[in-house]
Amino acid sequence: MPPVTPRPRDPAPSRLSYRLQRLWLTPLVRALLKTGLPALVILVGVFWVLSDGNRIELVRQKVASTRYNIEHLPEFTVKLMRIDNASREVSDDIREVTAIDFPVSSFDLNLNEIRARIEELDAVASADLAIRSGGVLVVKVLERKPAIVWRSRDALELLDETGHRVAALARRTDRPDLMLIAGDGADQVVPEALRLFKVAGPIAPRVRGLLRVGQRRWDVILDRNQRIMLPETGAVAALERVLALNEMSDLLNRDIAVVDFRNGRRPTLRLNARALGLLRPVALKSDGVNPL
């Protein structure tokens, strides 16, 4: 018996499908259906929504809740802050300043603003912020290095090499390794002070500090109440001359109160009273004058 095969389907398109296909291939109809109809549907939908205030509110709420849900996905949550290259006090300060209560969404973090706040700290030169995978806010800090101690009218402060404040210092003896400067406006000219300290290397053990006088010139204060008064301009060169004199004639080890180099062409020495008392008769005698 031959296998019963189903009647083969008529491969020819029906008149209807033939006509529909021809209609579909008509450019105008095609353009209308492919762009006109979707555009119409979208327009009608938009107008339908906009025609009622409640619906607008509903849409707004929906958008807001969707936004909230997305922002609070675990992938976007920042759970902790890591601070690199900072000392304990500075990182405590940073935590205090930023005042972020974790966990928080990364959409709510304004990194620029946080960075500005961190960089306002005196001890921080610059900071780099990034959110790493795993919800970690990494803060890379470049700390200011204290270069000098400044005794101002009110307090003892640490300054970096540009003169920017780093921190307060309780006692001078806490940082004996740093040089001391004093006087009003001394923090404005820290670089010059540092250069002076460098030049003063040979007499460093004797230098107690630099004093800014009248906000315009330096005095080098040595122990035994000696001081070297330097001019407003060319202070470094003047100090070099003083040191040269010192090397030649052991100037500073003598009983001298002040080496006055304010006028480079007329350097002056001020002796202590005792030295003056001893010197005067000798000088008078050499001049042929009786001291009495």
Partner: protein, 444 residues
């Protein structure tokens, strides 16, 4: 002849409209297959044939963008036999080709092989009006051809001016602008049965398409498979179809004879089916796979399974040798070729300068047909494939597509037919009222 003029001119207008739109479909209504091509014409005004550019050069003007062959239904001997079935097959072909092309097609040119085409040679002569031959003179001389009595049920499908003669000079292709007194024309006319055309018109209309032209596929096969030299020197093209075998003779690039033999590859399949007691499908299958025309010793040993699906073991395990198959096929092919030979003799083919015979059509792929044809038809026989046209897929380059490719060429570069010229006013005859109206409209 006026009604015919009207219809053919209407088709010409449709064709022009289609060329303006740039898209036209060509359809071959065959006995075995119905094929549809969609052609796209783009920016082709410069391709007007000039010096040395012949009809063949029209192939550069278009591109085939959609192809869909489908199994023909309801067609016998190249004529529509069952309208509904044929209409469905045409719809399938047109829809497939449209889908592939991605454009909607409104105009279609159809070729068919049936309708018993018959050739007539006509001649006419007329005095040139003012020494110089104008287009009007050509129209007049074409109209002056004495129409043969081709019978009531027939219609003219082609009327091609073949040759013009001016005074004593003959062999002119285009006498316009030349000076002379007497203009004579030889015209070749092909008529087919009117019912065949009417049926096709009806089917095309049912498919929501406009008929932009109708042609005989014997002519078109010659256009696409003969090379230019063959068309020039004289050659016959024999198109082996499934239901009919078309014959066309060309000389000086004009069709001078067209005929069909109402026998074809389908009859060979039928013979195999009857002779070996197998189904038509199986017969078609073994004809295309194992068929041949020359028996060699090896063919006696080559056994072919021709089993069926009856469940009867004896019946389902039958085998025939290839030589038996050839023995069934050969007489039928010989019969077809003898018939073709008779037609060629009747047309006076032996008097042509070139005796080239080109075999084309799907049936020409039977192995050994060229040897057999050269033995029966004499002369030099070759197998022809249609010209390559742009965009034609590989599957549609076989000899079975020669008529359709020829139709593409004819659509791109239509041959002048007599209805392309204005009909002289005096041929209007019974339309005197319209003439008065026209006169009034023109003068007021």
């Amino acid at each position: 002849m006026t009604a015919l003029y009207q219809r053919q001119r209407a088709m010409r207008h449709h064709r022009q409209a289609a060329l303006q739109r740039g898209v036209i479909a060509v359809l071959d209504v065959g006995t075995e297959n119905i094929e549809c091509f969609v052609l796209r014409f783009d920016g082709v005004a410069d391709a007007v044939p000039g010096d040395g550019v012949g009809a063949m050069a029209g192939q550069t003007r278009f591109r085939v963008v959609g192809v869909h062959p489908t199994r023909s239904r309801g067609v016998r001997f190249g004529e529509i036999d069952q309208m509904e079935e044929t209409e469905r097959a045409i719809r399938t072909a047109v829809q497939g080709a449209q889908k592939m092309a991605g454009v909607r097609v409104d105009h279609v040119i159809v070729c068919f092989s049936g309708g018993r085409p018959r050739s007539y040679g006509l001649s006419g002569e007329v005095e040139v009006v003012d020494q110089t031959v104008s287009e009007h003179d050509i129209a007049r001389v074409l109209a002056a051809c004495d129409e043969p009595d081709y019978g009531a049920g027939r219609q003219v499908i082609h009327a091609l001016p073949v040759n013009f003669a001016l005074d004593h000079r003959s062999g002119l292709n285009d006498p316009r602008g030349q000076i002379g007194n007497r203009l004579a024309v030889d015209m070749h006319m092909v008529t087919v049965e009117a019912t065949a055309i009417e049926n096709i018109l009806y089917c095309i209309k049912r498919c929501d398409l406009e008929l932009a032209g109708i042609a005989s596929s014997a002519y078109l096969s010659g256009m696409s498979s003969l090379v230019e030299d063959e068309q020039e020197l004289g050659a016959a093209c024999i198109d082996f179809g499934a239901g009919t075998t078309g014959i066309s003779i060309f000389i000086r690039k004009h069709l001078i004879f067209a005929d069909t033999v109402r026998l074809g590859g389908g009859h060979i399949t039928g013979d195999i089916s009857k002779g070996l007691q197998i189904s038509m499908t199986m017969a078609e299958k073994i004809k295309t796979r194992f068929g041949g025309l020359e028996v060699t010793g090896r063919d006696h040993r080559e056994m072919i399974d021709i089993g069926g699906e009856t469940g009867d073991w004896e019946l389902d395990r039958r085998q025939v040798s290839r030589s038996e198959l050839i023995g069934v096929m050969r007489p039928r092919v010989e019969e077809i070729l003898e018939e073709v030979r008779a037609r060629l003799d009747g047309a006076g083919f032996e008097h042509l300068p070139g005796q080239r015979i080109v075999l084309t059509g799907a049936g020409s792929q039977i192995t050994g047909l060229d040897q057999l044809a050269s033995r029966i038809l004499g002369g030099r026989v070759r197998l022809g494939r249609p010209l390559r046209v742009q965009g034609l897929p590989q599957s549609a380059t076989g000899p079975g597509y020669s008529a359709l490719v020829g139709l593409c060429l004819a659509a791109a570069y239509p041959q002048d037919e007599c209805w392309d010229f204005e009909i002289p006013a005096n041929r209007y005859g019974g339309h005197s009222v319209r003439r008065v109206v026209n006169w009034l409209r023109e003068n007021w």
